[in-house]
């Protein structure tokens, strides 16, 4: 690019529009979190269900192992990837607050599990729904928005069914809300990278 190249008015407009578009298209690959947590919750819910119906001791053990392990792995991933981020958009700035609200609400519900009883998982699904709906909207990515709506419906259904069935509904909800949209998000990111 020339140092002091004289610009015509049309060229100015072209520069502005191209650069604004470039900055907006700089999607970050967030698909890891959706795919990773989707699978972690899916595996925990399914194994919890299997242990319950086979009447094994400690049926909730998968949650106790996988959730802290997931926290550590995504913490390391986030430290490695996010610190090298070259640009911060306003959307990302807002999403930082949304994710803190999401994690705080999730933690509150999990801590209150003894009080909430069978209402715990429906509450968890409600919080998932908010997260998926908001993050999908912020990234203008419809599969996540749809995933959020599915999680809302799943939450309502969960209020009416027993604990065993709730586990199956949760695994379906994360499959459609996190895992499938997560893979679609990865494809969108790869397309964007290839299109450069």
């Amino acid at each position: 690019m020339e140092n002091e190249k004289a610009l015509t008015e049309n060229e100015s407009l072209a520069v502005i529009s191209k650069m604004i578009k470039t900055a907006q298209q700089n999607f970050k690959d967030d698909s890891f979190y959706y795919i990773f947590w989707g699978w972690m919750v899916f595996i925990a819910a399914i194994t919890n269900y299997v242990l319950l119906i086979t009447q094994t001791n400690n049926p909730t053990l998968p949650w106790a192992i996988l959730m802290p392990l997931g926290g550590i792995i995504s913490g390391i991933y986030s430290y490695k990837h996010e610190r090298n981020q070259k640009v911060t958009t306003y959307t990302e700035e807002i999403m930082k607050y949304v994710i803190i609200a999401f994690l705080a609400s999730l933690l509150t519900v999990l801590v209150m599990m003894p009080k909430l009883g069978v209402a715990t998982y429906p509450m968890v699904l409600l919080i998932y729904a908010i997260w998926l709906f908001v993050s999908g909207g912020a990234m203008k990515f419809m599969p996540l928005v749809v995933g959020g709506i599915i999680n809302w419906v799943a939450a309502v259904v969960c209020f009416y069914v027993n604990y065993e069935l709730q586990l199956l509904i949760i695994s379906l909800a994360v499959l459609t809300g996190y895992i499938i949209p997560g893979h679609m998000l990865k494809i969108r990111y790869q397309k964007q990278q290839n299109g450069k």
């Binding site: 690019m1 020339e2 140092n3 002091e4 190249k5 610009l7 008015e9 049309n10 060229e11 100015s12 407009l13 520069v15 502005i16 191209k18 650069m19 604004i20 470039t22 900055a23 907006q24 700089n26 610190r83 070259k86 640009v87 911060t88 958009t89 306003y90 990302e92 700035e93």
Partner: protein, 96 residues
């Protein structure tokens, strides 16, 4: 009536930098270099000009022992950009 275009913004590289910064909260020097395709030396000179005019805020820090330059647009810079776009419109209106 034609209005004067801000000479500080009426340059391809400086206009590119400001346009990139308008849409984001902050961006690193390497991001601006990659997106504008400019050389490091030229970009550095233009960033200093924008910074001296108070259009952008430049923060210098370190990451892994390497210098890190981060730029963000200021309120003055945003105002200048909006005015530039407004003035540009008067040139582009049919009949002018």
């Amino acid at each position: 009536m034609f209005k004067d275009l801000d000479p500080l913004l009426h340059s391809q590289l400086r206009l590119s930098v400001i346009s990139l910064l308008v849409g984001v909260k902050e961006a690193e020097f390497s991001f601006l270099k990659e997106k504008t395709g400019a050389t490091a030396g030229n970009l550095s000179v233009q960033i200093t000009k924008l910074s001296d005019a108070g259009y952008i805020e430049v923060t210098k820090s370190f990451r892994d022992n390497y210098p890190l330059t981060t730029c963000k647009i200021t309120a003055k810079g945003l105002e200048a950009f909006e005015l530039y776009v407004e003035n540009l419109k008067s040139y582009l209106k049919p009949g002018n």
